[in-house]
Symmetry: D2
Subunit: 317 residues, 4 copies
C-alpha cells in the first residue's frame, strides 16, 4: 500500500499535508481520485453526514473503502453501502478503532477462554471537556465507540436500546447522554458520554460470574485489570441460603503497544489482498448504526426503550 | 442526651453492646422503651420494612424519632409518619447521613453563593462489591443517598424519574441500577448504583455553567475539587458563532473532619430542644421515598419515565 | 489473656479508659502493676525515653513485656533489656507492627519462594504532615518502621548506615531524613521520612532480578503489586551484548484483613504460653536500635557512613 | 530560523530524516556544517562524551551552539566551552529542558512572589524502567534534570553535594542513585533516580514555610498542586509552646501547554538575534556539571559530602 493522493478542501492544510507526504498528490476534486485507475482503495475521514455519498461514489467507482465511524448517518444509508460493497465484491471497512486496540482484543480473548464466565454487565464512562461536534451529538460521536466495542466483544445482539440525552448549551447538540442496551440473556449495557465534564475519563467495567474487568484506556501501562471477585451463587435451588463473597487476586496482563489505527489499516490491506471480510465490515457498521438510530429515537421519548431494527441487509446474508 | 436503653433482638450482640454502653439497659422488648416516660427520643436502625411500624409506635407513644434512610418503604407510609409527627408536634428526622457531611454542606454553600452558576447535571457513581440486602434492592439501599443529597442541594423538584435495574444473581434482588431524574429547568440527574463491582467508587460530577465539581467521597483529603472549566456560551443570539472553551484552575477547599453521624444526632438533639424542624424532616423523607417509588415503577417498565407524585402531606403544608 | 489494669498518668483520659474497659482498674502508680502477682505481662506504650526503665522494672518483677517500637533509646539499653529477658526466661517482644501486617508477611513469602530473585533495592517513602515528637526525631519515629520491615524481610545485616537529617522548624527536632543501609551483597536500602509533607505517602519499592514489588500501605485493596519487569542480564561474560528489557504482567495478591496490632498481641500471648521467642524479640529490637543509633551518628556528620555495631547481646547467643 | 542540514552517522535513519525534513541536507561529515557560512547555529544532540569536542569546534567555527544536557562530561570541559563562547561573543545554550516547561516556570513565579515562603526542601523522585545509557550513569542521565531545575528555581548555590549510587546489573553503569545538596541556609535537596523501577514516577515535593507544592510531571492536567499546609512556628522565642498545624486549601493553577523543547529553541533564536544570554547559558551549564562531578566523587566514597567547586569561569565574570 502506498498513499497516492489526498483530497483536502481546506486550503490552509494543503502545505502541511504536502510536507508530510511529499510522494502524494494533494487535490481538491474528489472525482480525480475516483477516476484514477491506479487507485484501489479510498479512506474517508470526513464529517458523518458526508460518509454515505463519498463512500457510495467510491464503491461505484470500483474502489475498496475504509470509513471512519460511524459508517453512515442512518440505517438506510449504512445498509445501502453494505449492499453496494457486497454486490461489487469490494471491501467495505468501518474504522471502529477500539476493536483494533490490544486492550479490547485481550478482553475478547478472556471472554472467549471462559475466564470471565457468564457476562453480567458492561458499564462505560467516556467523558471529557470535548469538542462539540457540528453535525452529530455526543451519542453519535462518543457512544458509538462503546457500541462498536460491545458488538465486537459479544455475539448476542440487543433487543432494545434506550437513551436519555440533554443539551445544556444553548443552540448546541446534546452534550450528555446515557444509553442502555437490553439483551434476552439478562446482560446489560450502559454507556455514559459527556462533552462537558471537567476531566477526561475512559473507564469500562465488565462484570461476569467468574471475573470482573476494569478497562481504563487512560492508564499508560495497566489498561486492563482482571479481578477474581464476585458472588458465588452456589445453590441456585435454595436462594435463601447465604451465598459467599469471593475476594481474590487482581491481575493486569501486559499488552503490546501496537497503534490501533495502524493495525486497522493493515487489516484493511490484508482483506483487500485476501478477499476476506474485515472484522468491522459493512454489516458490523450497519448493526452499530441501527443501535445509534434506536438510541436517537429513544432519546426523543425521554428514554422509552426502542426495539433495534432486526432486518439484516438482505443481499449479504 | 444520654443513651438509656438499647433494644436488640440478636442475642449474640447483647454482650458487646453491654460492654460498649455499660450505662444503658439492653432489652428485647421494644415496648419497654415506649412505656418508659424518662425516654424522650428513639433512634431506629432496623431493616427498611420495619421503619414504619416502629416509628409510628414511637411517635404515638410521644417520642421524638430518628430513622435510618429511607424513611419508609412506601410514600403512603412515609406520609403517614410525617403527618403523625406533625400532628403530635414531635421531631421526626430521617438520617440522610450525607446531608450532614462537610463535603455536601460545602457543595451546597458553593451553589448558594452562585459559584457553580446554572446547574447542568449531577452524575453519581456509587458502586462496590456490596452486601446484597434482603428486603430492598440496590436502588433503595444506595441510590437513596444520591436522591437525598440532590434533594438537599437543589430546591427544584423532579417532574419524572426513570430507572433501569437488573438482578444478575439468581434469586436475589436487583444489584445494578441506573436512575434518572428529569427537571423542568433542564437540569439532569443520573445515578449508577451497583453491588457487584470489583472496586469501590463514590464519585459525583456536578456540572454548572460557571464551575464543575468532582466530589470523591473516598479521597482522604481532597474530597471536593472545583474546576473553573466549561464552555462560554457568550452569544446566545447567534449559536452559529464559535463559543470558547474555558480551561482554568482547580481548587480543593479544606473541609473539617466532623463525623457526619455525630453531626446528625446533634442536629436531632438541637431540634428537640428548640422545637425547630430538622433539615431532613419527615417531608424531606417523603420526597425521597416518592422518588424511590417512582424509580421502582419505572424499572418495572424498563425505564419508561414515571411522574413523581406531586401530592405533599396535606397536614403539614 | 484479659486486661487487668491500665496505668495512665493523664487524668483527662481516665474516664474514657474506664468506659472502654470497665473490667480493668485504672491506676496512676506503675508499681501497683508490678506488685500484682496475678498480672503476668505488661504492655508498654509510652514515650521512647521511658521504655528502658519501665520495661526493665517489669522484667525484674517477673513480667513478660511487650514494648512499642523502638525497643529503647540506645543500643546499650536495648541490649540490657534483651539480656534481662533472656536470663529471666521472660518473653520480651517489641511491637514492630508492620511485621505483623498481611502485606509484609506476603512480601516475605514471595522472597522466600524465590519469586523476587536476587534482591536489588528496598526504597521507601514514609511522609506526611505529622506530629512532631518531643523526645525523638523523625528517624526514630518513622524510619524505625522500615528498618524493622527490612530486618524481617531479609537475613543479611547491613555493614554500614548513613543518614542525612534536617530540622526546618526552629527549636524542633529533625523533621526530614534520608537513611541508607549498605550491604556486602550489593543490596541497597533507602528510606525517606518526613513530618512536613503536604500529603501522606507510604510507598515502598522492592526491586529484584525476577520481580519488582510496589507496596503501598494506603491502598485499600491492592497494597501489593508484583511486576514481572526488569532487565534480563543473560550473558554476564559479555556485558557488551545488549540485554533485554522484560515487560510482563502485574499481579496483586489478595491479602487477608487481619488487624496487625491484634496479630502482634496474639503472637505475644502464644509466645508466653509456648515459651518460644517472638518474631520481633529482644535481639531483633537490638538490631533495629543499632541501626537507628548508627543513623544518628551519621546524620551528625552529614551522611558519612557509620559501621553498624556488630556485637550481639552476649548472653543470648 | 530554518533547518539547513542534519548530520547523522547512522545510515538507517537517513531516509526517515529526509522524509521529515525534505528541505534539509542530510550529511555524514560534521565539517560540512562548520564550513558552511550560511549556517549560523548548531544544535548538538549526541552522547555526552562528544558534547565538548563538537561544541568547541562549532564555537571556533563561529557558530552559536545549543547542546543537550549536560553541557559536558567534566567541569574543565564545560568551563572551556563557556569561556570560548564568551570570548567569541557567541550564544552557548544548554538544553535544560525542564527549565522551559510551563510547570517549572510557574513554580519559579510562586517562589518569586513569596507565596512559598522560606524554602525548606526540594525532594524529587525520577524513576522508571529506563534505557541503560552506555556512556553515563543514572546521575548524569536523570539527576541532571533536578539539578537544572533547582539551579533555576533558587539563587543560592549548594556548598556540598553527596551521592550514593549502585549498579545492580553486572557490567553496567550505576542504575540507582540518591543525591543530596547542602546549603548554608538550611535548605535541603534530595533526588532519587532509578533506571530499574517497575513504574514511571516523576514527582517533586517542594516544602516551604507558607506553602507546599507537589509537582507531578506525569499528570495530564494538574501538574502542580499548591497546598496551604504546614506548621506555624509562631513563637520562635519559646519553642516549648505548642505550635499549630495549618491545614488549608489546595489549588492547582492551569498551565499553558507550550512544548518545552519548542520554547527552548525559540529562546535560543531570540538570544542570537538580541545578543542576550540564555537563561541556561554556559555558566549555568558549568554549575550543573560541577554538581554532577561532586556527586560522582561522593558516590565513590559511599556518600561522604564533597564541596562543590566554587571557582566560576574567570573570563565570563
Amino acid at each position: 500500500m502506498a498513499l497516492a493522493a489526498v483530497c483536502e478542501l481546506q486550503r490552509s492544510l494543503v502545505a502541511r499535508i504536502e510536507r508530510l507526504h511529499p510522494q502524494a498528490r494533494v487535490i481538491q476534486n474528489y472525482s480525480e481520485i475516483l477516476d484514477d485507475p491506479k487507485i484501489d482503495a479510498v479512506l474517508i475521514a470526513t464529517p458523518v453526514s458526508s460518509h454515505f455519498s463519498l463512500a457510495l461514489a467510491a464503491l461505484r467507482a470500483g474502489k475498496h473503502v475504509f470509513v471512519e465511524k460511524p459508517l453512515a448517518s442512518s440505517t438506510e444509508e449504512a445498509m445501502q453501502l453494505a449492499d453496494e460493497a457486497h454486490s461489487r465484491r469490494k471491501v467495505l471497512m468501518v474504522d471502529h478503532v477500539f476493536v483494533y486496540t490490544p486492550a479490547v482484543r485481550r478482553i475478547r480473548k478472556l471472554i472467549d477462554e471462559g475466564a470471565v464466565g457468564r457476562l453480567y454487565y458492561y458499564d462505560s464512562v467516556r467523558v471529557n471537556l470535548g469538542l462539540f461536534q457540528q453535525d452529530v451529538n455526543v451519542i453519535w460521536d462518543l457512544a458509538v465507540h462503546d457500541l462498536a466495542i460491545m458488538d465486537f466483544l459479544i455475539d448476542e445482539r440487543p433487543t432494545m436500546v434506550s437513551a436519555i440525552a440533554a443539551a445544556h448549551v444553548h443552540g448546541r447538540r446534546e452534550n450528555i447522554a446515557y444509553l442502555n442496551c437490553f439483551f434476552d440473556s439478562g446482560f446489560t449495557v450502559h454507556v455514559h458520554v459527556n462533552w462537558l465534564a471537567p476531566v477526561k475519563v475512559r473507564q469500562t467495567l465488565l462484570g461476569g460470574s467468574r471475573k470482573m474487568i476494569i478497562y481504563d484506556d487512560l492508564e499508560p501501562d495497566e489498561k486492563i485489570k482482571v479481578y477474581d471477585r464476585g458472588v458465588d451463587d452456589n445453590d441456585q435451588a435454595n436462594p435463601m441460603l447465604q451465598f459467599g463473597y469471593r475476594l481474590g487476586d487482581m491481575w493486569s496482563p501486559m499488552l503490546d503497544r501496537t497503534e490501533a489505527l495502524l493495525s486497522a489499516v493493515q487489516h484493511f490491506g490484508e482483506c483487500i489482498y485476501s478477499g476476506s471480510a474485515p472484522t468491522t465490515d459493512g454489516r458490523c457498521g450497519v448493526r452499530v448504526v441501527q443501535m445509534l438510530e434506536a438510541a436517537s429515537r429513544s432519546a426523543a421519548m425521554q428514554g422509552r426503550p426502542v426495539p433495534v431494527e432486526g432486518r439484516k441487509p438482505a443481499a449479504i446474508e
